[in-house]
Symmetry: C2
């Protein structure tokens, strides 16, 4: 039998999801675009949904993920905290380890 | 940050799913109960859905998974083929390897 192993991973704290593919993409787009609304648009999510995702992640993890500044010519902006960058880095490392195992176990 | 890594795995062939948690449970119950209808009931699936799952898996993998015999006092029965048992065994091994990695990467 030939097959490819596929997987989906996410992180939980006390049974609640704190990180997954959608949240990972959202954070990366915030980092790239410097704006929650632009990032939300990029990942096909409403601003309200994106904001709610971030707030819930922050509450569950007990850390601040995004620093926002209001107003100004370009309507404010958002930057990731060091903790958010660390979380992204760890999630990427975990994903890489799973991907390596996935390849090893797939039968061609 | 503390978190638990969670995962879901499945097997695909040519982009089509051929094995996953639901299918794994269904096959195991068929093996245990010797009947597709009893197994379907056990996993909360209609007989039609279970039969369709099996047929699709067999078509996609190009192997026979279940041998059925009709009639008789107890209304026939079903037994797994050697290939089905091998598939279950391999899926269990894959799951165990992922579970080991999951534990290793979870941060308490």
């Amino acid at each position: 039998m030939k097959y490819r192993v596929r997987f989906k991973i996410w992180l939980e704290k006390d049974g609640d999801v704190v990180m997954g593919l959608g949240r990972d993409k959202l954070l990366r787009e915030i980092d790239r675009l410097g704006s929650i609304s632009k990032a939300a648009k990029q990942v096909g999510m409403s601003y309200k949904k994106a904001w709610s995702f971030l707030k819930t992640m922050e509450d569950r993890l007990g850390i601040k993920l995004v620093e926002t500044r209001r107003g100004g010519k370009n309507g404010g902006g958002a930057v990731l905290t060091a903790e958010a960058k660390k979380l992204l880095e760890e999630f990427e490392e975990i994903t890489d380890r799973f991907e390596k195992l996935r390849k090893e176990l797939s039968k061609k």
